[in-house]
């Protein structure tokens, strides 16, 4: 067992883990943050995407110990403390971009990073390519693409304030 200290959704935690403990296991099993999901074992579905120091990362393909000292944001930490949804969450709801909800946390976290890293704007094609690492079986992606396009101006307007 080794110790890892990391900040998750603004709160610092020191946790005992094994060498093999994955970041997603730490989040789900040690911290009870079950919003981050595991949908595959080959790093392809993206249900486990979280932000590490602001960047989208597959938490199933990351050892917990690699995240020592890191700042992690999960789906549970995206909305404001008073429950106000992040614009991306709001647009997913507005555009019916989720059905069963299982891929949704990873999809939203990927989408937030995608929009943040493209302040200049995103074409529909770029959005679709940006979702390369996230599988959804319910929606056919159509409304997810619409939601992300709609969130882009909202997020950048908010950032400019």
């Amino acid at each position: 067992m080794a110790q890892v200290t990391l900040t998750v959704n603004g709160k610092q935690h020191t946790v005992e883990v094994e060498g093999r403990t994955l970041l997603v296991e730490l989040l789900r099993e040690k911290l009870g943050l079950t919003g981050t999901h595991i949908g595959c074992d080959t790093s392809q579905c993206g249900a486990c995407v979280v932000h590490i120091d602001g960047m989208s990362v597959k938490s199933c393909t990351q050892l917990a110990l690699q995240a020592d000292g890191a700042n992690i944001l999960t789906i549970e930490g995206l909305a404001e403390a008073d429950g106000t949804l992040h614009p991306m969450q709001e647009m997913f709801r507005e555009h019916h971009a989720l059905q069963c909800g299982f891929c949704t946390p990873g999809m939203v976290m990927t989408a937030v990073d995608l929009v943040q890293s493209h302040p200049e704007g995103l074409s529909e094609k770029e959005i679709r390519e940006g979702l390369e690492g996230n599988l959804c079986r319910c929606t056919g992606y159509h409304n997810i693409v619409k939601a992300i396009a709609a969130a882009h101006p909202l997020m950048h307007a908010q950032a400019a304030e």
Binding site: E18, T42, S43, Q44, V49, M55, S56, T61, L65, E132
Partner: protein, 264 residues
């Protein structure tokens, strides 16, 4: 996965020492291939040595060479202004590896050391005629790749950086596996004053290789038409449920022409 000890050495010497002293120890770079392998229990290391603390990332230009630290992430290579300007084929290639989340973690050194026959970077290194620098020596690209998942690296030897000569023109084209999105055929073409080098990944049972017949034709005339008549034999190419060896042989011709058209 099986349990293992985790170490994150603060110096190259320490990392080499751990890896050299324990045949069962394995180096961890970005982990985007290695961790899935561990999860499938296909590898049982005693110790995983995380190379993230060695200060091996960064991109520098000096003269006609770009040096990329072994732990530089794909995303940083894809977005680096110097690489985009000087070796656009490499920036484009990096942007096609895995997906954005994978590109945030995966590293060039890790990918080269693994030498997956369907990985993208081996084609860039080979086509650019780059040089691998390790903790103990330099290895020319032509000597580095030794068949699928096999390289010239010794046990415990760590790639520290990669030197890539800046070509006049470069391009990468990738025909993706519809499931895994790895390369079924990936072609990197680089045009230098001294001639053209063209390397193909994904297609051969032996891993990445240079297509010398195309190189010769392109060195004489750097245009898609110059290689239009070149037929690549299917012997020795991979065949699987996604693409037969014959299809791969055909794709080598098509994708190479597209790479040249893009670079020209």
């Amino acid at each position: 996965m099986y349990d293992f000890a985790y170490q994150k050495p603060g110096s190259l010497a320490d990392a080499v020492s751990v890896l050299s002293g324990d045949m069962e120890a394995k180096a961890l770079a970005g982990g985007q291939t290695f961790i899935p392998v561990l999860k499938q229990r296909l590898n049982k290391p005693s110790t995983v040595v995380d190379l993230a603390g060695l200060g091996l990332s960064g991109i520098t230009v000096s003269g006609d060479v770009i040096t990329i630290g072994a732990m530089t992430r794909h995303a940083d290579i894809a977005s680096n202004a110097d690489i985009k300007a000087k070796i656009p084929g490499l920036a484009h290639q990096a942007s096609l590896i895995g997906d954005e989340a994978v590109r945030h973690r995966g590293t060039m050194g890790g990918s080269l050391a693994n030498n997956d026959p369907a990985a993208c970077y081996p084609s860039a290194l080979l086509a650019l005629g780059g040089t691998i620098k390790t903790d103990r020596r330099t290895i020319a690209a032509d000597d580095f790749f030794q068949g699928m998942f096999t390289t010239a690296l010794d046990q415990g030897e760590i790639i520290t950086s990669i030197d890539l000569p800046i070509p006049e023109k470069s391009a990468y084209e990738k025909f993706r596996n519809p499931a895994s999105r790895y390369a079924i055929v990936g072609v990197f073409v680089a045009k230098f004053a001294s001639g053209v080098r063209l390397a193909i990944t994904g297609a051969s049972q032996g891993g990445v290789f240079r297509h010398t017949e195309m190189e010769k034709a392109l060195s004489a005339n750097f245009a898609p038409d110059a290689i239009a008549g070149i037929v690549t034999p299917a012997d020795g190419l991979n065949g699987d449920i996604h693409a037969s060896a014959e299809y791969r042989a055909h794709l080598i011709g098509v994708i190479s022409k597209r790479a040249v058209a893009k670079a020209a």
